[in-house]
């Protein structure tokens, strides 16, 4: 099934610059509806208020981190199906393992390039 590029995508990061970079890269990949949150708790509120087809989140944020957000999403019957991609500078194997155990769909280490982002999104969503 073709990927719906009109689906809502939520990007979560406490650095405004990174949100802007992600938004622009996703727009170049033809995603039309991109929403932002600056930490896990704001993201969770948005996820519960509107239907999203993809979450792309940083790890290191306050007050709610990316891994906490991931666990909340996976524990919520209505949200647990949403593909969740972690984009973070946390590159230790213990982080990757913890994210995998929490149910992450894919994991991108910063700094990343557009090709990596596209490749990971294809592996999660399918060709687009």
């Amino acid at each position: 099934m073709a990927v719906d590029l009109n689906m809502n995508v939520l990007i979560v990061d406490d650095y405004q610059t990174m949100l802007r970079i992600l938004r622009n890269l996703l727009r170049q990949l033809n995603f039309k509806n991109i929403d932002e949150a600056s930490d896990g708790s704001e993201a969770l509120k948005k996820l519960r208020a509107k239907a999203f087809g993809l979450v792309i989140s940083d790890w290191n944020m306050e007050p709610m981190t990316g891994i906490q957000l991931l666990r909340e999403v996976r524990a919520d019957e209505k949200l647990k199906h949403i593909p969740f991609v972690m984009i973070t500078a946390e590159s230790k194997s213990e982080n990757v393992i913890a994210a995998k155990e929490a149910g992450v769909s894919n994991y991108i280490v910063k700094p990343f390039n557009a090709e990596t982002l596209k490749g990971k999104l294809i592996s999660v969503l399918g060709e687009f």
Partner: protein
């Protein structure tokens, strides 16, 4: 510690010091106790006593010298002046790189707007170039996180220096009183040396604007 042959009051003091957590006993107190031990060693001394006496005297001298040496390093300045200044400079780096990154992305946005009106190879080339610029702008996020870690390390150092200052009690104040800094003395119309003029980039609130500089220059006319 065997304290049977020691003066009871001194023995109690030693036991109290032994119960203190590491790093919290003032150097002055240790020196006082060593001195008290020395003064209680009266009468006939055996060869072992003399050796012990010498060792304790050497220890007392070492502690006194160490106190003076450390006070001369002015750890109070490190805590009150240099560490906060370093943290401010690092914050300024994060702020400046964020501003620069946003300016770059604003410019790329304009390029994209023009690009949307183009077709074919030129549009593709511009798209590739703008994508690379967005990727490269990710440096600001990474440097920001690294600098935050360095600021955390500085805070840790500040705590340790604070503990050192507490352990020294008024030793630092005594040193400051005995060795006033040259710049603390009132100087009339001091002409700054060339090296005193090397401040590096100023923080926004401390810097003069171009208009201020123009006005200052014009005031010489």
């Amino acid at each position: 510690m065997a304290t049977d042959s020691v003066d009871p009051e001194l023995a109690t003091r030693l036991q109290e010091l032994g119960r203190e957590p590491g790093g919290s006993v003032k150097v002055e107190e240790i020196a006082e106790v060593v001195e008290a031990i020395l003064t209680t060693m009266q009468g006939d001394l055996s060869a072992v006593d003399v050796r012990l006496y010498e060792e304790l005297e050497s220890l007392s001298r070492f502690i006194t010298e160490a106190k003076t040496d450390i006070a001369a390093l002015r750890p109070d300045e490190v805590k009150d002046e240099f560490l906060p200044k370093a943290a401010d400079e690092l914050d300024a780096i994060v702020e400046a790189t964020a501003e620069a990154t946003n300016s770059i992305m604003d410019a790329v946005g304009e390029v994209e707007e023009v690009m949307s009106k183009l077709k074919g190879k030129n549009a593709e080339r511009l798209m590739d170039a703008t994508t690379k610029i967005y990727e490269a702008c990710g440096f600001q996020d990474i440097t920001g996180q690294r600098i935050t870690k360095v600021v955390g390390a500085l805070q840790h150092i500040e705590e340790k220096v604070d503990a050192l200052l507490n352990a020294f009690g008024d030793e630092i104040a005594k040193y400051k009183a005995a060795n006033p800094k040259m710049e603390e003395a009132p100087v009339e119309e001091a002409i700054p040396a060339d090296e005193d003029l090397l401040h590096g980039p100023q923080k926004k609130e401390a810097a003069m604007s171009q208009a201020d500089i123009d006005a200052l220059l014009n005031s010489f006319d």
